[in-house]
Symmetry: D2
Subunit: 466 residues, 4 copies
Amino acid sequence: MISRSVFDNISPLDHRYSLRKEEFESYGQYLSEKAKVKYQAAVEVALVKALAKGDVCSQAVADEIEKAAGELNVEEVYNEEKKTRHNIRALVNCIQKRVSEEAKPYVHFTTTSFDIVDTANAVRYKEATEGLILAILKDLLKILMEIALREKDTVQVGRTHGQHAVPITFGFAVAEYVSRLGNRIQAIKLAGNNLRGKIAGAVGAYNASHLFFDDPEKFEDDVLKELNLEAATHSTQIVEPEYITDFVHSLVSCFSVLASFSDDMRHLQRSEIGEVGEYFAKDQVGSSTMPHKRNPINYENVKSMWKEFMPRMITQYQDQLSEHQRDLTNSASSRFIPEIIVGLLSSANRLIRVCSKLVVDHKNIEKNFDMNKEMIVAEPLYILLASYGHPDAHEAVRRLTLEAQENNSTLRELIKDKDELKPYWDRLTEKQIELLTKPEKYTGIAAEKTEKVVEYWSKVLNVDLD
Amino acid sequence: MISRSVFDNISPLDHRYSLRKEEFESYGQYLSEKAKVKYQAAVEVALVKALAKGDVCSQAVADEIEKAAGELNVEEVYNEEKKTRHNIRALVNCIQKRVSEEAKPYVHFTTTSFDIVDTANAVRYKEATEGLILAILKDLLKILMEIALREKDTVQVGRTHGQHAVPITFGFAVAEYVSRLGNRIQAIKLAGNNLRGKIAGAVGAYNASHLFFDDPEKFEDDVLKELNLEAATHSTQIVEPEYITDFVHSLVSCFSVLASFSDDMRHLQRSEIGEVGEYFAKDQVGSSTMPHKRNPINYENVKSMWKEFMPRMITQYQDQLSEHQRDLTNSASSRFIPEIIVGLLSSANRLIRVCSKLVVDHKNIEKNFDMNKEMIVAEPLYILLASYGHPDAHEAVRRLTLEAQENNSTLRELIKDKDELKPYWDRLTEKQIELLTKPEKYTGIAAEKTEKVVEYWSKVLNVDLD
Amino acid sequence: MISRSVFDNISPLDHRYSLRKEEFESYGQYLSEKAKVKYQAAVEVALVKALAKGDVCSQAVADEIEKAAGELNVEEVYNEEKKTRHNIRALVNCIQKRVSEEAKPYVHFTTTSFDIVDTANAVRYKEATEGLILAILKDLLKILMEIALREKDTVQVGRTHGQHAVPITFGFAVAEYVSRLGNRIQAIKLAGNNLRGKIAGAVGAYNASHLFFDDPEKFEDDVLKELNLEAATHSTQIVEPEYITDFVHSLVSCFSVLASFSDDMRHLQRSEIGEVGEYFAKDQVGSSTMPHKRNPINYENVKSMWKEFMPRMITQYQDQLSEHQRDLTNSASSRFIPEIIVGLLSSANRLIRVCSKLVVDHKNIEKNFDMNKEMIVAEPLYILLASYGHPDAHEAVRRLTLEAQENNSTLRELIKDKDELKPYWDRLTEKQIELLTKPEKYTGIAAEKTEKVVEYWSKVLNVDLD
Amino acid sequence: MISRSVFDNISPLDHRYSLRKEEFESYGQYLSEKAKVKYQAAVEVALVKALAKGDVCSQAVADEIEKAAGELNVEEVYNEEKKTRHNIRALVNCIQKRVSEEAKPYVHFTTTSFDIVDTANAVRYKEATEGLILAILKDLLKILMEIALREKDTVQVGRTHGQHAVPITFGFAVAEYVSRLGNRIQAIKLAGNNLRGKIAGAVGAYNASHLFFDDPEKFEDDVLKELNLEAATHSTQIVEPEYITDFVHSLVSCFSVLASFSDDMRHLQRSEIGEVGEYFAKDQVGSSTMPHKRNPINYENVKSMWKEFMPRMITQYQDQLSEHQRDLTNSASSRFIPEIIVGLLSSANRLIRVCSKLVVDHKNIEKNFDMNKEMIVAEPLYILLASYGHPDAHEAVRRLTLEAQENNSTLRELIKDKDELKPYWDRLTEKQIELLTKPEKYTGIAAEKTEKVVEYWSKVLNVDLD
């Protein structure tokens, strides 16, 4: 067995970011090289089961091959590949070595390498979607839902352009990510379940299988059914690339949502803002030279991982181009797709850890809100003026805010002194006046919307909130 | 009116690639700056219609505003923007100037700029999808379908790794692109129709509209219904970015399919292959110095345009990140999305032109097929040997092909002389022997599959084949 | 003349971002389609001058051709291209039409289209570098230098991870961008001046020119010398792509520097920070619905433009791949390089406008600095403790800061009560104690370094500071 | 020690592409996590040496720390990090544990983590450039040089647009890559040697070091001199990003050259062309189902690896943006740079293996050349006609080639029958007529140029040709 220290590895995914044993092992089930070979063997087994079902070989032959496939290990296959210099031929040889002369011919019968490779990838990514990816992302979603509900009434200043705008609640801000993450989970589910296999032979025309089956597409369906897959409408030597392109797009676009959330959290942790915090372990060092620092390193890490993995979508688009019935220039590159998945999941797991200990500083939220409290009413003021018939309310209020800033006074003080505006002010209802004097009430339907968003996605995605 | 020579423009889309008047005008309907402002005005109209419906203003006010919005032109709005330095405020001012004092306040009532901008983009891209994008792509699809059917029985050597593999038909090769383009048309349709609008105000919490509506989401729905749109589950100042990200992904991944097809056609035109050709006009010059050249310039152009536009997907992923309730760093970049659409359509239109005159050289197809005719039978030979119980058929045939190449003989001549193989040969049926001697029959179900693929997509996408 | 309203254009570069007449015209000199054709004609002229010099044709012929080339216009060439469907042949025809029978053969003599196209691009990008790109970037650099010097003593809290760290000065923060922009200007200059031409014929082997010249490389040099260019070490039909790849890399990496600066300025404008501001015109609207907003729209715009143009580097890397002696799949894509330049320059010009009115809010800078003044001394405290022999100073200070935060006290109050630390405190010099009590002095050599950086780059790049 | 089977790893670089022991170990010296920590320790040693030199600590202290740094191993540092959650603090602790109380304070004295991290990366990438990257790339260059010289007289048809153009030699075609690879080696050398370090503290203003040094920049220089590095003009917490951006650009643009070469070789191996071949081992399997296939898998692999690694340049451009005196969002992403280097080198090593056994099929080269031999003379014919005064030679020859194709005759047969052309023909010299009848002589200066290119780069880069 070729084994080595993780610190001899090149990829950070294989040293620095794979030190949490349990996490790493959960990825490995689907995404290690070991797992890939296991899935390829499973496709060879599905093939022979369909052959037995179609009476091309006996059930005994199928059983024999299934047993053999279950026994082999990845080292053996790689050793064999040194001779064959062809990985699937190596796999086939390793199975054949273990079975009777009678069974040998039915291993890999009528198929081409990429019938196995592409189909195996489709199954494993599909199973990884259900068994791994969605599970982790939903755990994160659930935590965000809980924060959103918990903080749905926490009045916070809304920010656009980094500037104080009108009020929201912190729960509403988090609900944004509940909704966007929910939407991406749905997209990943769809794309993951839509991955396709093929048993159509060397150029996709079923040349070899047609030697033995009148309806070779039915035979293909039989094999794929064993693996819970469907065939694409057309294949060449490979499955149409668009299914996997869509799948990786769903992952990458989900990664962007995590990165956007992380950016928000980072910025809310700025010294001057301080609205949220990352829990810091007792012995944790913020800076090697500035012992007082508390850095948002986890959110920074997620953003950084996104910068590393997002551009790899370009590889997928390039891999959509394959000459004639295929060239092999997508072979090495497609071997890196598991990295994208691990990059995403490792970031999601990190967010799970850090968000479950998210500290919200209600005092700072309030303090920041108060900074521009008086200016916040500019919006409702302008709109109310307009609705009471002021012909140029936006401009009037804009000038008023300039004046308020210069004189360090409030809009509502100023408005009363303006002959031009006073008539409108006098027509406001009590409730409207209250709103202009208590801007913290001007949160629209932020709280209800938060509940609605959480409820919607918990239903659609079956996420139980305890 | 600011007008200028097209040759003063910077973007090739605005000079070189926009000289076909009709084509360019068809894009402009949805994708020029003029069109954008028109769509923004339409959202302002939808808004006031919903206000009238909800009895916030009178129908007369709504009519007045609709009329005014219909009259304005883009130059006027840009002139106004020189003062306001804010494009939507400029639009609003231009409408307000044209209406009565009573109507003025209801222009843009309770909304924020990006209620208008994002909603207007959603409508125009959605309408462009139906009215422009799908129409052109289906025209191309139809031509590919016709070629596929016409050439479904044209035996061609299948190629993998640029090497002769086993036979297909040329129609089957084209059916690959019928299927992949069909699949992308479906994806674009889905994503285009799924674009969303919003009328949720400055930070998405319906702060302003809630001053006037108990159920501001219902009001939002009313406005959007006028435009045949739905709202996203959650908004901030902007619509959740993932809808447009998915839309652009569908376009870019479709572009890759066109590029892959173009690569195939280019290579089939290589001097040594010569299986297809581009029709050349009488006076057309292939090379400025080599008068004998016939270059596949149109397919080269499509590949080149793909290289230009595909990487822009990165911009979309970056634009998914927006700080808090939004920063404006996606504003300029999102203005370039029309370029991607025009890039794609201009390539599709080019392929329509060139494919409708696609010349297939049947003689060369046959000549190339004949080159490795004898070797092609290696695959069925190996499989048949295996099925008749040869324990190591692949290896046996591999050695045989090496021998055949060295001795310049054929597999079937050699096999008879091999004591080891002869017993299997003798057991082959007449039909099987015919196949090994007439490799042009070894096309699997290429022809039937071609028909099936064409039929499937013509049904799914309602493409009538005359 | 084909002319149209700018608002019929597709690219924002040809409508929204090209409305400043002078700016747009300065770009157009080098980067419009008109300019391109003009430069191509200039290469044809250089060619015939070299022919005359080498006595292949007469000087009269050269003069005649030069005159003809000077007369033609882009519309004429495009009209001719409708017939030839080949742009360089069209150019050649247009020149030939204007000259005598004797001169006709010497137009384009022995060259291939891409001798002209690639050489013309090299000259125009090289001249654009000197005449346009560097000029604008240096204007920006100069403004940054002035701000840096002006604010070199303005104490500001340094920020890492968005957290207050130790002090710098605002001038020092700006000096970062003086240095990085200076460095990129140098890189652009180098890459722009290193662009290469070729007159090596259809496949680069000087096949045609060798019919007439014993040393066709000398003839190539003669032509290129007329244009102030050198040849690459080797050519095929095209110039080796790496020269232009390096050039675009220098532009894109410079764009990133502008984007990083813009990010900093945006964040320093956040409501809670407010250290810098964009000057706002009297009538300028910040938000269509929130009249009180002052948004950093210009910095946001630069960041957004960077997101649009940066990914296009991928196109360049793809264009490095060209089959055999070239395929044409880099032709359309390379036509978009001017867009990248205009994107960069339009952002630089924007920064020039906004930085020349940059407002620095010294009060807020001080206020923010004061927030963590007491904690800032943690670093020098730890280092001084260490230097006086404390064996674990970092850990000791880290615990002290935690205690200070909990008790709302200062480090220097606490330290005196700690039996363990007091001995070290007592050994501090007066100057060191002053530093720990006046953290605004703890700016290292920020001011001197600012001066040094400005001086260095003003010398290296010949930027005169008035 | 955490060790695991390579097949448990996620990255193909850590399983499939790292099985050649010697190759992998050569990368690991600089690029594994182990190597990184070793280089970081070396920076801590350089620091204390400079302290001793400046009499801040004793030489004995420096020696003690050097010894301690030499003893530690990566596992130990990672174990310590579990407590500190800060990798550089962990490194410092591990060194401190090993030294006397007197020495402890001088470990990491006055520096911040990224003084160590960025400087260590600069040294290791710089040393990797000289010791690893350039060595491998020059080995490849040398092989290409040998092929170029060996085949400099092998007449081959030049190809543009995949179409036969005018003749070159195969050596000349390879000389293209000698030149382009040589150019990139030079670029990598330059960028690698230009990597910079920093010892400027937490925000780059030398705050801490200025407590002890009047001229802290001199102290920085002292430390860096120990490591054979220079400082950048300005630093924040990190080194200016442009140095590493340029370095990665040089690698990526070099990778594109390898990919372009691989594309050419792949296409020259197409069944219909067959001009070059990859040597195939006796037992090597071309296809799992088509035993007769000989696939250009190594060239396909290189192209595929390029597709994987090239897009990662986007990460570098994004990492140029860092907020204020730095945010940490470039930390995780920059850890992946070694992957790009390994990707490039692993491809270069693969090309070395395959090119050293490159098989050139001279028969096929000749056969392909002969295909369009008669048409090839179109270019010299047109140019000669022109030079003898034909007013429209290009058009005349273009029409002649159409006629020749239709009538299946040759240009030189046709020309004599044309009254219009005959006069020019009669004026051709004997040598010119020979050339038109022996197109294989029409190779320009292909052979001389090949020699020149090889000689130039072997001198510039000191590559000895045996």
